[in-house]
């Protein structure tokens, strides 16, 4: 996972520089966030061309309207929200023209172990694999929330705004998701006669109590 190391103060400063017309700041924003936005976009629509068009339009849009943009202390959040809207719009447009393919349902947030290669060497214990398998069973919307919050360091509030849903539904969604996850992991492990180990138990507790 690639994270920019900017503090919120640096986010704000960079964004302000850009808004007041600094070309280098614009370039820097592209360097810092383009790849990340690309990944997020691709998780949403699974269509490279669409993602590129969306990013192209988005970057031009913020450039052409830089004087009218508001401040932000989290550029990623700002850009995620804008990109998501844009992709949603272009899908709506495409769906009108072409009734078949493009559905936002293709959103795919697949969870894997951080050290993929090591997984192959079976260093990831079985229980963790079970957790991951169960996490992948979550509805896409819930996965997207987890993705934005855990992977991209957004707050629940920001994740809600990016996705255009209320805080309440984020809470509900995550709470329901994780409670269900806890139960299903427990059941599965019990069924297979494995005592849940302490780290997985704590993980589940941690997930469900997070908010």
């Amino acid at each position: 996972m690639i994270r920019d190391k900017l503090t919120s103060y640096e986010h704000k400063a960079l964004w302000d520089k850009f808004r007041f017309g600094n070309q280098d700041a614009y370039s820097r924003i592209y360097e810092l966030f383009a790849a990340d936005l690309y990944r997020y976009g691709y998780n949403l629509v699974r269509n490279k061309q669409l993602v590129e068009d969306g990013l192209h339009e988005l970057f031009l849009h913020i450039y052409n309207n830089r004087e009218r943009l508001g401040p932000t202390d989290n550029i990623r959040f700002y850009m995620y929200r804008a990109l998501r809207r844009r992709l949603l719009d272009s899908l709506t447009r495409l769906n009108k023209l072409d009734s078949s393919d493009y559905v936002f349902d293709n959103a795919e947030f697949l969870i894997q172990s951080y050290e993929t290669e090591l997984v192959e060497q079976q260093t990831l214990d079985y229980q963790k694999k079970v957790v991951i398998a169960e996490l992948n069973q979550l509805p896409k919307r819930q996965k997207e929330i987890l993705y934005l919050v855990f992977m991209k360091d957004l707050t629940y509030q920001q994740a809600a705004e990016v996705m255009g849903i209320t805080m309440k539904s984020v809470y509900n969604s995550v709470h329901v998701a994780l409670s269900a996850l806890r139960i299903s992991v427990n059941e599965r492990l019990n069924r297979e006669g494995i005592f849940i180990n302490i780290s997985v138990a704590m993980l589940l507790g941690y997930l469900t109590s997070m908010h």
Binding site: A34, Y38, R39, N43, E52, I111, S199
Partner: protein, 282 residues
């Protein structure tokens, strides 16, 4: 307890499977964005291929040689001091020719793939879009290449100035790479030391002459004096030359040059005296 931090570690240990764009993807996208910067938001990409440009340059060369030969039969418009003339060209483009200017029109604007005009003086262009056909304004210092857009070209004294109002134009000047202008840009093509200077301006400061208005804002009086001489053949001089650097605000009508001069004197709080063809402010 040693497991205390495990959950958090573990969370960090799972990640979402992601497709990461290659550096080539990112570079291509970057190039595409930078290429279209300043463009109104639409998907058209005009000059995507550099070899297209080379081809265009070569074909232009051939065409201009051809046109040189044909030039004896091409149309030409000329305005006198104080005369502003609106023209509609064969291809539907609108040109407002400022006073004391000459424009020669290339052949068959409605059919040719490259539409060309040659300008001395100043004109405002509102180019009609014709698919695939570009429009080139030639001046002594630079060529302005466009597809469909609105812009102002001034080629007087030692400079050619291009102010882009809308759309996108490409400015070619000798010895330097062509530049892509965006709306609000004023490009000045000058001497060898500083071939092209670009700054962002308020478009109305540079095209209000079409409505016979002159906006004084942010321009030194010296520039105004040059304008009077270039467009109306009126010479003005100042007993106290420090006035030439003074900057005024507001706008003045140009429909009557002599009223303009009187009003200017009032604003500056000076007396004006006419000697032959020169107005002396003191």
């Amino acid at each position: 307890m040693e497991d205390k931090d495990k959950p958090k570690d573990y969370i960090k240990n799972i990640r979402f499977e992601e497709t990461t764009p290659s550096q080539a993807d990112l570079d291509r996208l970057r190039k595409r964005i930078w290429n279209d910067i300043g463009e109104p938001e639409k998907r058209a990409i005009w000059w995507k291929q550099s070899n297209f440009l080379v081809a265009a340059a070569i074909s232009m060369l051939i065409i201009s040689i051809g046109i040189g030969w044909w030039s004896s039969r091409s149309e030409q418009y000329q305005t006198a001091y104080g005369e502003i003339r609106k023209l509609t060209l064969e291809d539907g483009s609108q040109v407002t020719l400022n006073a004391n200017s000459v424009m020669r029109i290339g052949d068959r604007l409605a059919e040719n793939a490259v539409r060309e005009v040659w300008l001395e003086g100043e004109a405002y262009f509102d180019i009609a879009k014709r698919k695939g056909a570009k429009f080139i304004v030639h001046t002594s210092k630079a060529d302005v290449e466009v597809l469909g857009t609105e812009f102002n070209v001034t080629t007087r004294r030692q400079n050619t100035k291009v102010m882009l109002n809308e759309g996108k134009v490409k400015l070619h000047a000798p010895h330097v790479p062509a530049i892509m202008m965006k709306p609000g840009d004023l490009a000045t093509v000058g001497d060898q030391k500083q071939p092209i200077k670009v700054r962002v301006v308020r478009p109305e400061l540079y095209d209000s002459w079409k409505e016979s208005m002159y906006i004084l804002d942010d321009k030194p009086v010296g520039e105004l004096a040059e304008m009077l001489q270039d467009n109306y053949g009126i010479r003005v001089s100042f007993a106290d030359t420090s006035f030439l650097n003074k900057r005024l605000k507001g706008k003045l009508s140009l429909s009557s040059p002599s009223d303009f001069v009187t009003n200017l004197a009032t604003i500056l709080d000076l007396e004006v005296e006419k000697k032959e063809d020169t107005y002396l402010f003191k």
